[in-house]
């Protein structure tokens, strides 16, 4: 007996709205489909109305977890267009926040994955230790989520010696804890039993479907923008790219925890070699006409911002390719021929940030299931037509 189970747009397993439709045979998934567009906010259009400086704070709000990734990616591109070079100390602080954000994002992911697997104790412990990182970020930037530390030509806040010492001290605790979680993630039998051999994605598939970030690295594809196309100070920072060859959710867990350990080393390097000097330089307001593509290794994978300038102080076009979007195609492959019980885990294992990746809306007729493309003027006309002289509906049943 085949039947279709909808997971989402509203479902306890999903933290953000997305629609997964699973065709099941018993508990086994035969087909999976994905529908986006429940969280479209028109950010790219809005960016065209704002100056480069204002856009830093707008792009920061694309995501609530990797907020710094988007603003840094945008700033990297904008600085190239504006032809400013941030001072070295500013660069170090900028990517210090990047690495701390990676750690907090991976800890958050580990907690969510544990919760999806029904291992709430690990969830509670991981999120307790995540507070250490959150406190560091708050100390550095004054904020827990939207750090707002980037500016054109550097960063907005400097570090003092006490803060550097505090960061280095916290690293000890975090290292110890992360090693413990690596042990649990790789050895606790009931947890490993849920993760191993789930959501398989072979190396070839990962390359073919353009998977990015830890999802690709867990399939033994060693891609990392920090290594392949170094930006900031990553070319002078020693670190290695973590991979796993198990090609399953267990591999994705191990890769992420190992990446945290690598991030601690990077943070320590940055703090021990923090150069003196200013943290920012003045940047011009207008960019020369041109276009630029900025790449950035976000916690979830490669983040790409394309900026086109027309000579004014506002970008003519901003295009964001969030890492989650790059992983959707691979997700559908992973879901097929898995168990229904594994859907939340497989889906969570790409660390989906749904609102990052929403660029379009699909209009679907609720009764017939037909899809349309509708222009804005037509949409307005439709809205007026529908509600013109419409009486108040009592006991209305959806769809109207």
């Amino acid at each position: 007996m085949k039947f279709t189970v909808p997971i989402g747009p509203q479902h306890p397993a999903l933290k953000e709205p997305i629609s997964l439709r699973m065709t099941l045979e018993g508990e086994v998934i035969r087909d999976a489909d994905l529908r986006l567009g429940y969280n479209h906010r028109g950010m790219e259009k809005l960016a065209e109305e704002k100056t480069y400086l204002q856009n830093i704070y707008l792009t920061e709000r694309i995501c609530g977890i990797c907020s710094h990734s988007h603003s840094t990616c945008f700033v990297q591109g904008a600085e190239k267009l504006l032809e400013v070079e941030p001072p070295k100390r500013g660069v170090y602080i900028r990517y210090l926040v990047s690495e701390l954000e990676r750690v907090h994002s991976h800890l958050l992911w580990l907690g969510v994955a544990a919760h999806e697997a029904g291992f709430d104790s690990l969830f509670m412990y991981v999120w307790r230790d995540r507070e250490v990182v959150m406190d560091l970020l708050e100390m550095i930037s004054g904020n827990r989520v939207h750090y707002a530390i980037n500016t054109l030509g550097g960063v907005r806040r400097d570090l003092d010696d006490l803060q550097v010492k505090k960061i280095l001290d916290s690293l000890d605790l975090l290292r110890k804890r992360s090693a413990y979680y690596l042990d649990i993630g790789a050895n606790e039998p009931s947890f490993v039993g849920r993760l191993a051999d789930v959501g398989r994605l072979t190396k070839e598939q990962a390359v073919d479907l353009c998977a990015v970030g830890p999802t690709a690295r867990a399939s033994d594809v060693a891609i990392d923008v920090r290594k392949d196309d170094p930006y900031g100070m990553y070319d002078e920072t020693p670190f290695k790219v973590c991979t796993a060859d198990t090609c399953d959710v267990l591999g994705r867990t191990v890769v992420r925890v190992k990446e945290m350990l690598v991030s601690y080393d990077i943070i320590e390097y940055l703090m021990r070699n923090l150069p003196a000097g200013p943290v920012a330089v003045r940047a011009p307001r207008r960019a020369k006409p041109g276009e630029v593509v900025a790449r950035y290794e976000a916690p979830r994978g490669e983040n790409i911002h394309y900026i086109k300038s027309n000579g004014t102080d506002k970008p003519e076009r901003l295009k964001v390719r969030a890492p989650t979007l790059g992983n959707y195609a691979a997700t559908l492959v992973m879901l097929k021929s898995g168990f229904l019980a594994d859907v939340p885990l497989i889906f969570a294992a790409i660390d989906p940030c749904i609102c990052c990746a929403e660029r379009t809306v699909t209009l679907v007729d609720a009764r017939t299931g037909e899809e349309h493309s509708v222009g804005f003027s037509r949409l307005r006309a439709m809205a007026r037509e529908r509600w013109k002289n419409a009486p108040l509906k009592k006991d209305a049943v959806w769809p109207f």
């Binding site: 397993a13 104790s121 690990l122 606790e188 009931s190 019980a341």
Partner: protein, 323 residues
């Protein structure tokens, strides 16, 4: 006098009053232990140490809107929570607490009552399945199918494990089994393996982590209980609490030497032993992750059932050569 005694038995201990007060206390205990193991506080505000939190939850649910899905089987859907609670409370009455004489069997303590209580404790599973089926929601139906699949996994090992001590004591009557082990406490040790198996099976019967598959919220929302709300959900929650106490009581009576010493000393025995069992259940809940339904069936037939048979074999050998 006999009537008064029976009334006390039915209404006070271990009847209604005790069942409801003690089962909510056990839920609090379970939640508190679980929370402390997770580095959380658990219930703190309602009542002293949050002791009244489970009661507050039930009162809150009773006041909530009670929705019956349009397409659900209305009669079954509404009746099942009450039936379930009655069934779980009935199991409590069969525990050998105080109202029995060892020589003379009575309606609540007779040869074969160990089988009856095991069957009564199986009924909630069937009730969960029927409740899921009559609520006609996708998530409920998947939950219901999982409830039954789970039953195939744990039921046989549980029966085998619980019957071990009965064979050793040479009786099918809970009171006599408990009495047998009270006389020879050392003989409880060979049953340790059986106790662990029964503990794991009880965890599965109560559908708690790692066996909370039928209502895994991240997969199938509320599973069995997706469509239940208000009063009916409150009754189901109370039923699960009572089932937990009854199950813990059964394990205590069979594996931990029962509740000797009349009403008051027996009560102390009952509380300490059931809390011990519930403590172990809470620890098991805290240190494991939810496993898949196929892994459960695999695990119980590959490990639990053979181990239960091994336990039975050990007991037969002991009974043949030592006793």
């Amino acid at each position: 006098m006999a009537i008064l005694k029976t009334l006390l038995y039915l209404l006070v201990y271990p009847g209604f009053l005790f069942v409801f007060v003690y089962s909510t206390f056990c839920e609090w205990f379970d939640r508190k232990v679980f929370a402390r193991l997770q580095n959380r506080m658990g219930p703190t505000h309602t009542g002293r140490f949050g002791l009244l939190q489970p009661v507050a939850d039930i009162v809150k649910l009773l006041a909530k809107e009670d929705i019956v899905p349009e397409k659900a089987d209305r009669r079954m859907f509404s009746l099942l929570p009450a039936v379930g609670l009655a069934v779980a409370a009935t199991a409590m009455l069969l525990l050998p607490v105080w109202h029995f004489s060892l020589e003379r069997p009575s309606p609540n303590s007779f040869p074969g009552d160990i089988i009856v209580i095991l069957y009564i404790l199986s009924l909630p599973t069937l009730i969960f399945f029927l409740a899921a089926w009559s609520s006609t929601s996708f998530y409920s139906e998947i939950g219901g199918a999982r409830v039954l699949t789970l039953l195939f996994g744990y039921e046989v090992p549980l029966f085998l494990a619980v019957l071990g001590p009965a064979i050793m004591a040479g009786s099918w009557r809970l009171a006599e089994i408990a009495h047998f082990f009270q006389q020879r406490p050392l003989l409880l040790l060979p049953n340790l393996l059986g106790f662990l198996i029964a503990l794991i099976c009880l965890q599965a019967k109560l559908e708690r982590t790692p066996f909370d598959i039928p209502h895994a919220e991240t997969e199938i929302v509320g599973g069995t209980f997706t469509e239940y709300s208000g009063k009916k959900l409150a009754l189901f929650r109370l039923m699960i609490d009572v089932e937990m106490v009854a199950g813990a009581g059964l394990l205590a009576a069979v594996f931990l030497g029962g509740f000797p010493g009349g009403v008051f000393v027996g009560l102390v025995h009952f509380v300490i032993k059931t809390l011990f069992v519930i403590f172990l259940l809470a620890v098991m809940r805290a240190v494991t992750s939810r496993i898949r339904i196929d892994q459960v069936v695999n695990f119980s037939w590959r490990y639990l059932a053979p181990l239960a048979v091994l336990q039975l074999f050990i007991i037969l050998l002991l009974k043949g050569f030592v006793l």
